[in-house]
């Protein structure tokens, strides 16, 4: 039984990876400009400096890499938080991370945030905002050394509301030139010119994946309930803290670079739980890969749907993700 389960997992992993590779190639191949992939190899060796080379490797490829990092990162944050809180409605943004990041970015654009960072000022202020809010929520919810999960959730939701009210306040008094920058940031986009930043996010996202995989068994225990996990010999408080930290850091990094891209962290974990089951050892891996594939695919659709204009990627993640998920739910009795 055990070995057959592992081989099932391996098959799933390879299957999802094949999909990811397919999506990545598809995304490389389509866009506002027609470029056949067959030419890619030729371009790679001889095409430096041609517009086609630039489009493929300096415009499309960075977006795919960022989509991979952000999609995967958000998906496993969702898995971790849903497993830990044992609540199907929790997603990476529930704890106020997105609200904090958005507030940080807004303030940076309107009053000017960390100086001397140049183009890195926006992601830096987003990250600071996200971490600030998470720390606040955490500090309010912790008593003694115990994190009360139900409380952290409520505080998080309230703080999110407060953050969005504050954002509206900032937007109401801001200049028109800054306003559209804020709106665009909030809508979320995988366009990011800085290659170094993309590499950093990739590194953090993959690191987060590996780290959280080390906690997969603890997550399995935690999803039975805190008391059960304790009796199974899990150091509940330490694990909760570590998982909360991983999930917040991952989400904070993703949000600060790409803006608020919704739905990935909510739908992908559920969909994967439907397909591969709720053992976190496979669920984390499967969610990471399919979250990456999902976001890359959605971004590609957003790029080509009304070219030369571009839709906000959140439009597609919401429509595609929600649709697929409702379909999947109706096909099978799914309980969290």
């Amino acid at each position: 039984m055990h070995s057959s389960r592992i081989s099932t997992w391996i098959v799933w992993t390879f299957f999802l990876m094949a999909i990811l590779a397919g999506v990545a190639f598809f995304s490389l191949a389509v866009g506002a400009v027609d470029l056949p992939l067959r030419k890619a190899f030729f371009l790679l060796t001889k095409g430096r400096g041609t517009p086609e080379y630039t489009i493929l490797f300096e415009v499309r490829l960075p977006r795919i890499l960022l989509g991979f990092a952000v999609g995967g990162g958000l998906a496993i944050s969702g898995v971790i938080l849903q497993g830990m809180f044992r609540n199907p409605l929790v997603e990476p943004y529930t704890l106020g991370i997105s609200g904090g990041a958005a507030l940080g970015v807004c303030l940076n654009m309107v009053v000017g945030g960390p100086r001397g960072l140049g183009p890195l000022a926006t992601p830096a202020s987003g990250f600071l905002g996200a971490m600030g809010i998470v720390f606040m929520v955490y500090a309010i919810s912790v008593r003694g050394k115990v994190i009360r999960l139900s409380r952290i959730l409520l505080v998080g939701v309230m703080v999110s509301f407060m953050a969005s009210s504050l954002i509206m306040l900032v937007m109401a008094v801001t200049r028109t030139e800054d306003l559209h920058g804020i709106i665009f940031w909030i809508m979320g986009s995988l366009e990011e010119p800085s290659a170094a930043l993309i590499k950093t996010i990739l590194f953090i996202s993959l690191g987060g994946m590996i780290l959280s995989f080390l906690f997969a068994v603890d997550l399995n225990a935690l999803s039975l309930g805190e008391e059960e996990a304790f009796h199974l010999g899990i150091e509940v408080e330490r694990v909760k803290k570590a998982l909360l930290l991983i999930a917040s850091l991952l989400t904070g990094c993703c949000v600060s670079v790409s803006g608020i891209i919704g739905f990935v962290g909510l739908v992908v974990p559920h969909l994967m739980r439907l397909l591969v089951g709720s053992d976190h050892r496979i669920l984390l891996v499967a969610s990471y890969i399919s979250g990456a594939a999902f976001l890359i695919l959605c971004d590609t659709l957003a790029r080509v749907a009304i070219a030369p204009m571009e839709l906000p990627v959140g439009v597609i993640t919401g429509l595609v993700g929600g649709g697929v998920f409702i379909y999947a739910l109706s096909r099978k009795g799914y309980s969290f």
Binding site: S7, D34, R38, P51, E191
Partner: protein
């Protein structure tokens, strides 16, 4: 097949699901992989002539597009935004996006040697273009006629048409002076300009609209406002003689009806609510600025 049996989803439907997904994938993938390849070289000679003036210009600013045509280099424009309506010839050029959201791939494909952007263009996108060695010049919105002329002259230097630009500016200035002289001494009307509805949006003292109204012999009642958001109550209190609505077609008509409800406003009493063509008014060149001033003079001083 055994590996899939551990899940409770019916094996049959699951297999079908896979096949369908696989098929969809292959279709999507190959439909693009086998499209005809691009021509290796479409014979576009790269001229490195001595005065390296831009030969392929992408304009992301409607005003700049119009100005390029004024300067006689319209044939060098290879890409515009979907809002570049003036002159009509500009609409035949390749569209690369809107003012705030452009398609980088399209721009790269056009191989421009100059891209003109505005501060409204997504900063990430301008940075990206500069990273891949495309020359990007950013033109800020002019705050008055003077700024408009300076922008125009700066643009003319970029494309090597200074002479022509100076002549155009000279002529525009002369005409503007003539208009100002003509309306000297005539009583000024209080004017409210509406640029947007919900929230009510107007032109504050720092916008070129303010200059436009003053040049045409009007007083902008929102001249002291810090931002464009303005309350209707304030409009009623300040009681403008004229209301100008700068929005397109149907919306303008609807807004006019809204104003008609406030019967105490002078402009309503005297039926002096007018709508303006936003394409021309909102993206002014030195030439169209003067044209608009003339039109406003007609409106402001028609009954006096």
């Amino acid at each position: 097949m055994k590996v899939f049996c551990s899940c409770s989803w019916g094996q049959h439907s699951r297999l079908f699901f896979y096949k369908a997904m696989l098929l969809a994938f292959l279709l999507l993938f190959f439909s693009h992989a086998f499209s005809p390849p691009l021509k290796a070289n479409d014979g576009q000679e790269r001229s490195f002539d001595i005065p390296r003036l831009p030969q392929r210009i992408v304009s992301l600013v409607p005003t700049v597009t119009e100005e390029l045509y004024l300067l006689g280099v319209g044939d060098k424009v290879v890409g515009v935004t979907v809002y570049c309506h003036r002159p009509p010839e500009a609409q035949t050029k390749e569209k690369v996006g809107t003012v705030v959201d452009v398609n980088i791939e399209k721009i790269i494909e056009l191989r421009p040697d100059l891209v003109i952007a505005s501060p409204l263009t997504d900063h990430k996108q301008t940075r990206k273009l500069r990273d891949i060695d495309v020359e990007v010049e950013i033109f800020y919105e002019a705050k008055d006629f003077q700024g408009l002329c300076e922008n125009f002259l700066r643009l003319s230097q970029l494309v090597g048409a200074e002479r022509k630009a100076e002549k155009i500016v000279e002529k525009a200035k002369r005409e503007l002076e003539a208009v100002k002289k003509r309306i000297e001494g005539i009583a000024k009307s209080k004017v409210f300009v509406q640029i947007g509805a919900n929230p009510l949006f107007t032109a504050d003292g720092g916008s070129f609209f303010n200059d436009l109204i003053e040049c045409a012999g009007g007083i902008n009642i929102a001249g002291d406002a810090k931002t464009g958001i303005f309350s209707r109550e304030e409009v009623i209190k300040r009681d403008p003689d004229i209301i100008l609505i700068v929005t397109m077609g149907i919306v303008g008509q609807k807004e006019k009806e809204v104003w008609l409800r406030y019967k105490t406003i002078n402009a309503v009493k005297n039926h002096r609510i007018f709508t303006l063509d936003s394409y021309r008014v909102c993206s002014p060149t030195p030439v169209s600025f003067v044209e608009t001033v003339k039109e406003l003079v007609e409106i402001f001083h028609a009954q006096q």
